[in-house]
Amino acid sequence: MLPPLDPVIHAQPRLRVTLALAGLPDGDAMTFPRLQELAGLTAGNLATHLRKLEDAGYITVTKAFRRRTPVTYLSLTRTGRQALEDYTAALRDLLAAPGNGTPAGSST
């Protein structure tokens, strides 16, 4: 019996956001507009999903000032990176399991 997919990540917008942030090396953070651009979401949609990811402890939201303009920086937490790895593995296991139309061991 395979475990269910992490519902925090298993939604298209949140998977996009998580993947965009996962592209950053450890220690780096991304501004809200750049994340919006990379994830391909509207600002409102992004804000909603960021809240869910933050509640789950998967992202860090840092508010800062750059030349007196407020800037929001986002990055994945260690928990968030691990969650993405676990989600990816679970996804592959799920699709490799018999009865899912994909022969076992043929994951790319």
Binding site: H10, Q12, P13, L15, G23, L24, G27, D28, A29, M30
Partner: protein
């Protein structure tokens, strides 16, 4: 799916908030991972290939335009070298700066210091050669000192990148460019151009290959 997301506005079953099948999720994961990587990471293949081509064609044209019986006019070689150089600079400096917009953190500091290292090194190359000229270095030697000091700077910076990032390809390329620089001086004028074109340009193009192959392997 057990998600606690509230129903999407308008109750739509399509569009970005629609439920996602595991198969769709894996497809999205793989395409997005590559797409994000391309947009955030410096394309080292493009950088090495760009400079390799610039050295190969640029110094090659310089060789053909030099000496007692030039095959090519400087009116042709000059602009081509300019365009190639501008393209290589765009790929190695302009593009990474553009890619880094909206990103903050240690990697940005490293990138910035790396780029300044190149700018400072070539500033010094120019100043040293100008100084040599003002100190009375014979004109017949200036092509040799310019190309020799440039190759020294490039080789040393690649060595540095090699040991800092534990990148053996960059380290080997750095060593090779240093040897090329030495050889170019002993080749005299205009042989120095030929050495830098074939050995220098060729070396950089060759160094691009393992990066391109490992990229292909990681996508397979």
């Amino acid at each position: 799916m057990g998600t606690s997301t509230p129903a999407p506005e308008g109750g739509s079953r399509t569009g970005p908030d629609a439920p996602m099948s595991p198969r769709d999720a894996l497809a999205l994961l793989e395409t997005q991972r590559d797409r994000v990587s391309r947009r955030l990471r410096t394309d080292i293949v493009a950088v090495l290939a760009g400079w390799g081509l610039t050295w190969l064609a640029g110094f090659g044209l310089a060789y053909l335009a030099s000496g007692s019986s030039p095959v090519v006019s400087w009116w042709v070689a000059g602009p081509v070298i300019g365009v190639l150089g501008a393209a290589a600079l765009t790929v190695s400096f302009g593009l990474p700066i553009w890619q880094g917009r909206g990103i903050a953190g240690p990697s940005r500091q490293v990138t910035s210091m790396y780029m300044w290292a190149w700018a400072l090194a070539f500033g010094a190359v120019a100043a040293i050669n100008a100084g040599l000229a003002s100190q009375g270095l014979p004109a017949r030697l200036t092509p040799l000192t310019w190309t020799g000091t440039s190759a020294l700077a490039v080789g040393a910076l690649f060595l540095g990148a090699g040991f800092l990032f534990r990148d053996q390809i960059h380290y080997a390329l750095g060593g090779w460019i240093l040897v090329t620089g030495v050889a170019s001086v002993f080749a005299g004028f205009p042989g120095n151009f030929a050495v830098l074109s074939l050995a220098g340009g060729g070396g950089m193009l060759a160094a691009a290959v393992p990066y391109a192959l490992s990229r292909r392997r990681s996508l397979a």
